[in-house]
Each structure stands twice: as structure tokens, then as C-alpha cells.
């Protein structure tokens, strides 16, 4: 089993991606999510944003990738949630972060509560959320 620190306050190794159409188009292709606001700057502007912007569901996936990498193949995600607060616009570097906020034993499993979030260019929180994992 992977060695990891379970103290409250422990931060997970960061998952980082430079974002833009190369990521969004690949995600659109697997999720069949060909929505104009994610592909066309004019459609993004018409929706009140600066231009085309990334899918909320891709932030969701980045957060899952962050947590999966930390819990390893043996770990299990019990529940997961996030809000989609700000758009991920072209050229931003998105980091997925996580921090241990609680550790408890329940039903023979060690459950770890995490605070998770994605942040663009180190300043704009895009998708804050929570997760509970079983180790």
C-alpha cells in the first residue's frame, strides 16, 4: 500500500494542466460534449464570458485525477462534490489541489475527508469541493 501522511492539514501532490482547446476538444470527443460555448469564442462571449471556456465536467475529472493519484489503486472514492464557480478560459494553467480535513474509522475502513479545489493561474478558484475516500 502506498505510503501517505493522513494528518489533518496534509496537502495532496498538485495535479497541473495548461488548458485550452487541446484539452477541451479531447474531452468533448470522449464525452460527446460539443457545445458552442466550449469551442467558439463568439458563443462564449454571447454567454457573458470572455470567450470560449472549458467544461465544468473536465474540472470534475481533474479533481478525480488528483484524488486517485493520492489514494492509489487500492483506495476508494466514497463521495465527491464540487461547485463550478468560475469559467476556465483559454491559456490558464489549472491546478487541482487537495487537503486532508478529517480522518475517522468507520465500518472497518479508514475514511479520509478532503477539501479539494481547482485554481487558475494561482489566483482564481474555479471548482471548490469536498471528497471522502476510504483507504
Amino acid at each position: 500500500m502506498a505510503q501517505r501522511t493522513l494528518d489533518v492539514g496534509t496537502e495532496l501532490p498538485v495535479f497541473t494542466r495548461a488548458t485550452g482547446l487541446a484539452n477541451w476538444n479531447r474531452y468533448a470527443a470522449v464525452n460527446s460534449e460539443f457545445v458552442p460555448i466550449h469551442m467558439d469564442d463568439e458563443a462564449g462571449k454571447a454567454a457573458g464570458m470572455g470567450g470560449a471556456f472549458g467544461m465544468g465536467n473536465l474540472q470534475w475529472s481533474y479533481l478525480h485525477a488528483l484524488v486517485r493519484s493520492w489514494i492509489g489503486d487500492e483506495g476508494r472514492i466514497v463521495n465527491f462534490s464540487c461547485q463550478f464557480r468560475s469559467p476556465n478560459v483559454k491559456g490558464q494553467t489549472v491546478e487541482a489541489h487537495g487537503k486532508v480535513v478529517g480522518v475517522r474509522d468507520e465500518g472497518g475502513e479508514k475514511l479520509v475527508d478532503l477539501e479539494i479545489w481547482t485554481i487558475a493561474n494561482g489566483e482564481t478558484v474555479l471548482a471548490p469541493g469536498k471528497a471522502t475516500v476510504a483507504l
Binding site: S32, P36, R68, V78, F80, Q83
Partner: protein
């Protein structure tokens, strides 16, 4: 004195309120293939190599899963389901009343849609060969004034089970319309 202009505005009609709790639809996936899982993982982890659990059968066999599993958030319903081909817009636009159209009622006619939030309780993992059934219900409507005007929050609850009847996940998705 109340005038027509300061009367409370709402996008939630009595018909929409009455539809809360109703089933919006159910769909069945085609059997999940290793290729579906592999491509999903490649897209998510691009430009890095995805974890071997999602594409290397030999490696995956030696893990607690005993074989390849899908990433938890994998969507087996993309492109087409076993229910048949769903017609998509030919104008490149998205139906803002998609939720109400599915329920056979009149929607609020709002122009823009954003994904608001998502929460999921996970059950068993999805594997190659699995056939997933999704049953979606209308969970709630709320609304409030926002930066871009009166915002409508519609939440759906989606329950997925596999061919053995095991719970794969239960999700609540809130979509903002304005």
C-alpha cells in the same frame, strides 16, 4: 403599492413545480469497451500518460480490481446509447428548455446554461463489458437574482446501476439557466 413592474418575477411555473420528483428519462449504455475507457483516460490525463489501471490489462490484473476499471467519472452514455440515436441540434445551439422538454412540459425559454455543481456517491466500479442503466429524476428548482439576471437552478438526480443491479453511483447535478 404593487405595480406590474415590481411584481415578483419567476421562471418556475406551477407546471414545473408539479413536475418535481418525476422521472425525466432512463437510458441503457452499450457494453463498455476497453477502448472507451482508454480514450476517456487519455483525454483526462492529456498530455501525460494515463494510469496503467485504465489501459494495461496485465497490470490491472495484479491490482485489487483484478482487471481494468473505468475512472469513477467515466461516461458510458456518450455519443449513443442502446436506446437509439438521439437527434442533436443541427444549428449548433443547445435547447435551454431541455429539462422541461424531456418532461413534456413548457420550459422558461431561457437562453444560457451553465453547469452549477455536481455531487456523487459512488458504489461499484465500471468495468469492460458492463451495461449501465441510468434513471434520472427532477430533484428540485430554485432561483435567485445574480450578476446576469434572474438565475434558475434546476437539479436532477441520476442513479446508475450495472447489469447485476449493483449501484454504480448516484449523482445530483445543478444546472444554472439565465
Amino acid at each position: 403599492m404593487t405595480t406590474e413592474t415590481d411584481a415578483p418575477k419567476t421562471n418556475i411555473s406551477p407546471e414545473m413545480k408539479a413536475a418535481v420528483g418525476r422521472e425525466i428519462g432512463r437510458k441503457v449504455s452499450f457494453p463498455i469497451s476497453e477502448s472507451d475507457i482508454r480514450r476517456w483516460a487519455i483525454a483526462i490525463y492529456y498530455p501525460q500518460e494515463p494510469p496503467r489501471l485504465f489501459w494495461d490489462a496485465e497490470y490491472a490484473k495484479g491490482t485489487v480490481h483484478g482487471g481494468i476499471v473505468a475512472p469513477e467519472e467515466f461516461n458510458p452514455f456518450a455519443w449513443m446509447t442502446a436506446n437509439g440515436f438521439e437527434r442533436t441540434s443541427t444549428t449548433g445551439t443547445v435547447d435551454g428548455d431541455y429539462l422541461e422538454s424531456s418532461l413534456g412540459i413548457k420550459g422558461p425559454g431561457l437562453k444560457f446554461m451553465l453547469n452549477g455543481s455536481l455531487e456523487t456517491d459512488y458504489g461499484v466500479r465500471m468495468r469492460p463489458g458492463d451495461v449501465i442503466t441510468s434513471v434520472m429524476r427532477l430533484h428540485s428548482y430554485t432561483e435567485r437574482e445574480g450578476r446576469l439576471g434572474l438565475m434558475l437552478f434546476g437539479t436532477t438526480e441520476d442513479t446508475w446501476t450495472n447489469q447485476k443491479g449493483e449501484l454504480v453511483k448516484k449523482s445530483r447535478n445543478m444546472v444554472i439557466r439565465y
